[in-house]
Symmetry: C2
Subunit: 184 residues, 2 copies
Amino acid sequence: PRRQDAPITHDLQVAMEDIFNGCTKKMKISRKVAGPDGKLTKEDKVLTIEIKPGWKAGTKITFPKEGDQLPNTVPADVVFVIKDKPHPLFKREGHDLIHTIKLSLRDALCGGTIQVPTIEGVKVALPLTDITKPHTVKRIPGRGLPVPKQTDKRGDLIVKFDIVFPDGLPQATKDILKDLLPAV
Amino acid sequence: PRRQDAPITHDLQVAMEDIFNGCTKKMKISRKVAGPDGKLTKEDKVLTIEIKPGWKAGTKITFPKEGDQLPNTVPADVVFVIKDKPHPLFKREGHDLIHTIKLSLRDALCGGTIQVPTIEGVKVALPLTDITKPHTVKRIPGRGLPVPKQTDKRGDLIVKFDIVFPDGLPQATKDILKDLLPAV
C-alpha cells in the first residue's frame, strides 16, 4: 500500500453575511507535481467551495488527493475548515445570533422602542414596555441564521442589553432619585 | 521489577474558611492486606493532611504505597487532590476572592456606604462615592486568601455589583426620570 501523508488543513474564515446567504469561495492552492522525468514543478489549482446557508464553524470540506503529487506517494487530501469571522454586531450561538445593544439607563427605566439591527441589513423595532434590567434578554424569532436542510427555518435573534449609566449626576438630581427609587 | 498499580486518587473538598486558616484533615482509608497465609484482610488507616493557608485547588498530597498490600505487587500510592468547596459568598481567583454584592439601583446612583463580608467573618465598609455601573469592580487590598510561603501576604477582595432594578415604576415616576436622566 502506498503511503498517504496527513491531510493539509486550511482554516477558511467566513463572514457572517456569507454564512447567512451562502456563497461560493474559490481557493487557490499550490502543489508540487513530479513529471515523468522525476522533476518537480509547481502547479496552481483553484478549488471551489459551495458554502451552504447556516453552515457551522468546524464544518470540513475535503478535496481528496489534491496535495503534492510525488513519486510512490498517494497525494494528501486538502481540507478546508469553516471558521466564523468575528462580526462587529452579532455573535453566533448555534442558529441563533446574539446582539448586545447599548441602552441608556433612561430608556431602560422609562421604556421606548429601540431599533435592532439584523443580519439581512434591515432594522426591526423592539418595543420595551417593562423595565429593562441588566440581565434582561429578548428574543426576536426567525431573525437568526438559516437552519441547513430545513427550508425557510431560521434561528432567533437574541437581544442583550448593556445599560449605560450616567458618569455623574448633580447632587440635586441624586436627592430626587433617592425619593423616587425604591430602597431595595 | 515488581508492578505498581496506578495511584488511587481521591478528591478532597476543602471549605474556603479552611483554605484561609489552614487546617488538619484526617482521612480514613481502607485497604486489603495479604497475610503470610495469603489471606486478605481489610485494614483501616487514618492519613493526616496538613492543609496550609492559601493552598490552591489541584494541589496533590501523595501518600506513597498506602494502597492494597497484595503479593508480588508494590502497593499503589494514595493521592488526595485539593478541590475548592463552593462558597456561598466568595469565588476564588488565584489568591483573590470575588464577592458579588446586590446593590439597589438607588444606591448605585445616589451612593452610600455598603458593608462587604470578608472570609474572616468581619464586614468592611466600602464607601460608594461615584455612580456604580453594572461593570464596576472595586478592589479591597489584603482581604483575599493568604499567599503560601509569604507570611502575612494576602490577595485582594474583589467586589462586583449586581444592580437590582425595580420591577416596575409608576408612570408619574417614569415621567420625572425622563427629565432627570440624560438621554445618552
